[in-house]
Symmetry: C2
Subunit: 415 residues, 2 copies
């Protein structure tokens, strides 16, 4: 039997035990995991060194090596993350609905774990700990398949977490790491219907597309964000500039950063030149459509492809529009429906935008950078869903649960 | 451009308009659809005759021809179905959560339509009307791909519904029927990411497997039910017999009917012979394991394959177990986690079963036949989900919605 199938079977068996544990038992295990990570940090750092050495040999970029790298501070942060998850409310067992039927049946809808979660991700080893903590807290077994460049780190982390689980009520088989670095192991996971209940990809657009295109297991798609900020005719100039600047520059590499700025022509005539200058000074490459370039000639040309591009970088495309409707239509055409913002003092325009833009998060007068589980107050985040089924937007613990109906009768039969 | 892509694009455009309509506008359209179906019933019946004639030529079975067949009574029932959907509460716009953040952001989570729903189904033309009504009520455009044997009926029904929509606020493009009878049109729908937001298959196991195995669009899996009834040592004999008989015999062809009966050996010793006789008289083929046959020698042999089979027929497999744990373990191994029942007067055993069996619906002392949207009081049903994501069990109107976060600020930027 393949490694993937064998480990998924063990995870599934363990998930049955895990699903019946109390919140206290799960929290105790998380705290032990946290302590043991710190206790064994030197071994984890040593394993990480092997990955870093091999990464350098293989010519990984500096930014990738940085993401891969672990030190005492980062391990402490991972451990703290587990302790924070332990403090969050456990959604499992929550009664979501209850109702009586005329025939005397009493029906309750309660939250239950999903079962076995498959995580497929790239270099960062902290995802290993994050995902383990979030899945175990919600009573799910988890099969982790991290990037091959972090293999030694992930193996050691899971070895350490297993040691902690052995002193807890959670069966250690509930946490599995796939060690086969070949692409075939990912493909196999994607088709493990009956053993995996969901696959969650975390990483770049390529990884996510691979998962969506090949999975027969249900997927929660995360990630791609071509986010817009629309500055309306009636925007307050300082606020608009501050929000748009923040959305682009505060951290351009993330999915909730702005990629395209839409500016009403009245506002643009007065303020675009100043704002573009501010971006330029922050090292942002600014590309404009014809109308934008008529106001700010030094902009590069924005072409069709720019409207469809998630730069994830210090690059911005700018389009000047004649109306709110044109802005909405542009977003409906090119947006990935992740996070979209209108800056305006006009309540009607704001209401129209909030109603007609069908994105995971729609903002009035605030930066799109707030779309994440911590900023929304969920205390944790397994990812940001960009699909419309199951979960949409930042996913906290309830996104890792399913439901079941418990039906209580006293002999009812169907007529 | 292909028919499928063209119609899906029209549906997507229409979905934007549809999403902004009021409940009253949608209900008015549903009532017009109902009236017009009845008004044009002779044309629908004539089109249906063509399908029936072709079906007879192609040697369709009597039961398939019966499912395909439309008459005034059935059309009246379809129209009544639409009127009932019009009376249901519209979930779109419901505020599910709202919270303030310390930085002053105010966040609301509201229900929105999913967008464009693809329905892939088999012969019964009433699904065309049902699905149209449920999707439009929840603000979703819908692309219907019914079985080729019902093509003329479905074309005519949609033509009639389009006439009704033309006098309503719902754009008629929100309702599309695929006329290409080739399998390729199904395959194309399954990969229409970006145009279809979800695909829901309704039909036999083969259809559902095809959809699950080939779709890159998110799927809500419906259907397969290998349902068990477990009669505990401490069951009340009359109730147990009545519930198990109902679960098997009342309508064996449906997914919530019982396929395997598990009986505790103490109960079996006293009552299995009598109950098996009752089944035999109802024309049920009864298959037993060794222990069951030791008590009732005339039973056929139940083999491994029987535990994995959804008969959907007057056939039952029976296994005698030594304990509640053995029953639970059997269900965990062979069940499809659709509907599972325990009959017992022992509260501890009931609680253990309800907790450990992770099915869409778990019953204590009631027939599994109640797992459907009408019996649960949802007033309608788009299907019964057997997956754990998005919706599980009977799906009422809320299962056809997604959510979005509306975030209100006064200039907040991320630090």
């Amino acid at each position: 039997m393949s490694e993937v199938k064998q480990k998924a079977q063990l995870a599934k068996q363990a998930s049955v035990v895990l699903a019946s544990l109390s919140t206290e038992q799960k929290n105790e295990a998380l705290l032990k995991m946290a302590d043991h990570l710190v206790h064994r940090q030197q071994d984890i750092i040593a394993a990480n060194q092997e990955d870093l050495l091999r990464g350098e040999e293989n010519g990984l970029s500096r930014s990738l090596l940085d993401r891969l790298s672990l030190n005492e501070t980062r391990i402490a942060a991972m451990a703290d993350g587990l302790r924070q998850v332990a403090e969050l409310q456990d959604p499992v067992g929550d009664e979501l609905e209850q109702f009586d039927r005329p025939n005397g049946l009493f029906i309750k809808k309660i939250r239950v774990p999903i079962g076995v979660v498959g995580m497929i991700y790239e270099a960062r080893p902290n995802v290993t700990v994050d995902a383990a903590g979030l899945c175990l807290k919600t009573g799910n077994a988890v099969v982790l398949r991290g990037g091959s460049s972090a293999l030694h780190s992930n193996q050691k982390i899971v070895e350490v977490l297993h040691e902690a689980l052995e002193t807890s009520a959670i069966p250690k088989d509930a946490l599995q790491v796939i060690e086969d670095p070949n692409r075939a192991s990912v493909d196999e996971m994607l088709k493990l219907n009956g053993l995996l209940d969901v696959v969650i990809p975390r990483g770049g657009a390529g990884l996510i597309q691979t998962v969506v295109n090949n999975a027969t297991v249900p997927v929660i798609e995360t990630g791609a964000g071509i986010c817009h900020t629309y500055i309306d005719e009636e925007a307050q100039a300082d606020m608009a500039s501050s929000i748009a600047f923040n959305a682009k520059v505060q951290r351009p590499s993330v999915c909730n950063a702005m990629e395209t700025l839409l500016v009403h022509e009245q506002f643009a005539a007065q303020h675009l030149a100043t704002f573009a200058e501010k971006l330029k000074q922050a090292q942002v490459v600014v590309k404009g459509d014809e109308k934008a370039k008529a106001l700010v000639p030094w902009m590069e040309d924005a072409v069709e492809e720019d409207w469809c591009t998630e730069y994830n970088d210090y690059v911005l495309s700018v389009k000047v529009v004649s109306s709110l409707e044109e802005a909405i239509s542009h977003i409906q055409t090119y947006g990935t429906m992740h996070s979209e913002c209108i800056v305006t003092e006009n309540a009607d325009n704001a209401a129209k935008f909030m109603q007609q833009i069908d994105a995971a998060a729609v903002y009035h007068n605030a930066s799109t950078r707030f779309t994440d589980g911590f900023e929304f107050g969920f205390g944790a985040e397994i990812g940001i869903s960009t699909q419309k089924l199951h979960a949409r937007g930042p996913m906290g613990l309830p996104a890792l649960t399913s439901t079941k109906y418990c039906v209580y009768g006293d002999g009812q039969i169907k007529e």
